[in-house]
Symmetry: C2
Subunit: 228 residues, 2 copies
């Protein structure tokens, strides 16, 4: 194969290879990692804030927050009880990549943790293209964004393992056709696990938390089987 | 200056140079162009839908819609009375650039129009870095996104000429501190023209429409002065 093609392939695959390195480190340490993605303001940070208090007595949790400029999100994760919170400032970059996450993992004593929540930059486009090495991709959609979003951001909706539909408390005040939204999702990502909830009223939150606890339990038991 | 530096500079400036070409074409045709940017679901398309019926009897309007995949937005602009609507499918790209807009301008008989509204891809990061050659940048923020967004997306808030705060009808149902939001805006973009409104109830919409009509009037009278 000509040398030049190999070089181009290496560049293209650099992120994926680093993502594999991250995955291996997480697996070895028995940490289940989720990549939390959403449009700006859909409620990623609120979800972390409301989920953590229901989890911190049952498992040890680290949060990595990607943001353009501030450390507001890591501060909120710490206040919500995260056992560790690291802020990645992307310096204007529109997504996290595997190298950025790798740098954050360096700062964590991974075997101490059971769950790592990575909060990506608020963006429905670019984060979908950059694998981080996490085990699960979770998309937080929200009612006020409108029911046409699966149709308009297919790359994001197609690639996620879990779909959270946040701000259901606003349904009475917004023209949101849940059937139309779910049809759009179904075409792109049939059977995707879905949790409608409200981080404001807490409605529906327990189902998501229970699911996450079970996921961590199964992951840890498999990890310990592999090691014995 | 070494040749290599010049090459790098040319690549970096390619978008800006194409933006200048677009601007010249728009100026020569007497078309005021606005670049409408927002987070997904903040209400760019709804704003176009509600604004157009109030304008179409007074001026001729073209709409260029940037989207990842569908033509839903151009269809809605046409239904709202746009005299022309062109859809740019970015094929997954997270922003419009000046070359894409240039291609759309080719398809329009520009001197026929007074106003061009360019609806960018829903994204609070990348579109801020790509000049299109438009005269005004308008950001549509929305109440459900939360009051911390200026702090978290400074590049976007810093660079716009007009800020629309949409969905104010949802203020009673959401914890949104308008003072905190406006403080964030003021630090980044002091004195930016701001229109709080609701595309759902039409509250506040007339002020925005009146401002836009006046902008087009001044622009057209200057353009005709330059030509005489």
């Amino acid at each position: 194969m000509p040398k030049r093609v190999a070089v181009v392939e290496n560049i293209l695959n650099a992120n994926d290879r680093m993502a594999q390195v991250n995955r291996l480190r997480l697996d070895k340490s028995g940490v289940l990692a989720i990549n939390l993605m959403a449009s700006p303001g859909a409620g990623k940070t609120s979800l972390i804030e409301q989920t953590l208090p229901l989890l911190v007595s049952r498992m040890r949790i680290a949060v990595v927050d990607g943001d353009l400029a501030t450390s507001l999100d890591a501060d909120r994760a710490t206040a919500a009880g995260a056992h560790a919170a690291i802020q990645i400032n992307t310096g204007g970059n529109c997504h996290l990549d595997a190298v950025m996450l790798g740098g954050a993992l360096e700062q964590l004593d991974l075997p101490q943790f059971d769950l790592l929540i990575v909060e990506n930059v608020g963006n429905l486009v670019c984060p979908a293209s950059f694998a981080l090495g996490t085990h699960l991709s979770v998309l937080v959609a929200s009612i006020p964004e409108g029911d046409d979003k699966p149709h308009k951001y297919p790359g994001m909706y197609r690639g996620v393992d879990v779909l959270i539909i946040n701000k259901i408390d606003l349904l009475p005040y917004i023209d949101f056709r849940m059937d139309f939204f779910k049809q759009g999702v179904e075409i792109l990502n049939p059977g995707v696990i879905t949790f409608p909830l409200s981080c404001r009223t807490m409605e529906g939150l327990q189902a998501w938390v229970d699911w996450l606890v079970e996921k961590v339990r199964v992951f840890k038991s498999r990890a310990s089987e592999t090691q014995t």
